[in-house]
Amino acid sequence: MGNAVPASPPRIEALADDAWLVTLGTSIDAATNAAVHALAARLRGNAPPWLRDVVPAYASLAVFVDPLQIDPPAARDWVATHVAAGAVAAPGTGGARSAIEIPVLYGGDAGPDLAAAARELGLDADELVARHAAPIYTVAMIGFAPGFPYLSGLDPALALPRLATPRTRVPAGSVAIGGAQTGIYPRESPGGWRLIGRTPCVLFDPQRAAPSLLFPGDRVRFRPVDATTFDALTVRTDGAK
């Protein structure tokens, strides 16, 4: 798709009558995604009353406005001003918060694809777990389902193709690898990523004041736990609801 589109980034175009799409790059890479989150933070930090949402993705973001409060061309000018300012400003720090720790029970029933994935990658299961839990990941974007984080920063040696036939039921909290990404299923749903573990954390609860555990741009680290710890954390999570 990249070479089919003539204009080069950064580019601002209409996404809907009430939304502008800002494209900063054409590939999935850390620098472009950091620029997206820095721009999102600038827009949110200067939010006028007509701004409805800023939706970051890998290399682009959408700005949703109330079209009855602002003429879309005026909203575009406002976005363009911040895009231009970003070109000279220092790159964003990418997540002011320190890394959020996600406990994960790897393998077994919690991660039914772990053993096969390790064989496919030519690794011990323990080594796969160690390498999956080593990096600090960035929430590149949230999508697919409410609260589903697309995490960038996966060790390239752990990239795995998606299942040829997606599962009809992936349990909530499943930690998975899909291509060069890793992510967490917030809710039981169909899914084609390879399941290597499960977290007792509730990633999305619409009744919570902060419905999503993670926010785009957040940094995340996985902490391997044993079944006893997993159960203890599960009980605590349920009790807190």
Binding site: L15, D53, P67, I142, G143, A145, Y150
Partner: protein, 317 residues
């Protein structure tokens, strides 16, 4: 004070004007597929435009209402009837406020379209979740337990103004702000920079049966599609996607928040309510307009509906 569902219909959901401001967390907009029709139905019964209504698809529900009420049905035509407790069944009409004693409201087949919206005074008083009462069917929250209505459901009603309808009061007047809109005219869209975006307007399309509140799937001569290697980017209700099979999809209110398919452009929001009325097999054509024209269409539609609501409010007084 409640609505009891005696028969649900194939897809009846609680909706308001949608959930705005949560897309960055992957939360869909949801809301009535024709927000103007939902707002007008609300205005006809004296509600705020954003109160929750019932949206029904192809066939309406049968509801028991345990208090006197004022109701209005907007959107496509519906065979509607009412049986007061211990009384005889009376045929109802759409697009006007109807005063009802307690009894059974029977909403039948939807005609000349696919969807209609029922407002009842006081509104459907389900809990507000993430700033909206709309049902998020995929997320499983909002509306009635995050799902379509089922037989036996009981929905709370908000407090209505006092009125003592002992018999059905069906006014002879009605409002139809879209009556003069050409129904066969092409759907207007704003083209993207994608090379296939213009080809959308040259094709003759039919509405595929797999269409739903997430997206309207088009079937026709396949457009030239790219390899599926796109970088996922934000999408919105109205986005026209081009999957690898070359059959475009127009995203609707329940659409996901990001997508990896190439984007051919977006349908003008003034024409999205027309897509809400498409039935499987319906023929569709598209014509490109620019973003300014799309905005002007949106404002014109809002003004038309606001005038109709004002006129109705004066007659209801």
């Amino acid at each position: 004070m409640s609505l009891r569902v005696l028969a649900a219909g194939p897809l009846t959901t609680v909706q308001d004007l949608g959930r705005h401001g949560w897309r960055h967390l992957g939360v869909a907009q949801a809301g009535a597929l024709d927000p103007d029709a939902a707002a007008l139905a609300n205005r006809l019964v004296g509600n705020a435009a954003g109160d929750a209504v019932l949206e029904f698809t192809l066939h309406g529900p049968t509801l028991a209402i345990d208090r006197t009420s004022r109701v209005a049905i907007c959107g496509a035509d519906v065979d509607a009837a009412f049986r007061p407790a211990g009384g005889e069944t009376i045929a109802l009409a759409t697009r006007r406020p109807i005063a009802l004693p307690p009894g059974e409201l029977m909403l039948g087949p939807v005609r000349g379209g696919a969807r209609a919206w029922l407002a009842i005074d006081g509104g459907i008083d389900v809990p507000v979740v993430l700033d909206s009462r709309s049902t998020d069917l995929r997320g499983g929250f909002g509306g009635c337990n995050g799902r379509a209505l089922q037989r036996g459901d009981e929905l709370p009603l908000g407090t209505a103004r006092q009125h003592d309808a002992t018999a059905v009061q069906l006014p002879a007047w009605w409002v139809d702000p879209d009556a003069d809109e050409p129904r066969e005219a092409p759907i207007r869209y704003v083209a993207s920079l994608h090379p296939a975006s213009g080809a959308l307007a040259r094709g003759a399309w039919r509405v595929d049966a797999r269409s739903n509140r997430q997206g309207l799937r088009l079937a026709g001569t396949a457009l030239a599609a790219d390899a599926p290697d796109g970088v996922s980017a934000p999408v919105a209700p109205g986005t026209v996607q081009l999957p690898p099979d070359g059959q475009p999809i127009v995203l609707l209110a329940d659409a996901q928040t990001v997508g990896g398919y190439p984007r051919l452009g977006h349908v003008a929001s003034a024409d999205l309510p027309r897509l809400a009325q498409c039935r499987p097999g319906d023929a569709l054509r598209f014509t490109p307009i620019d973003a300014d024209a799309a905005h002007a269409l949106l404002l014109a539609r809002r003004h038309r509906h606001a005038r109709a609501a004002l006129a109705a409010a004066q007659r209801s007084r």
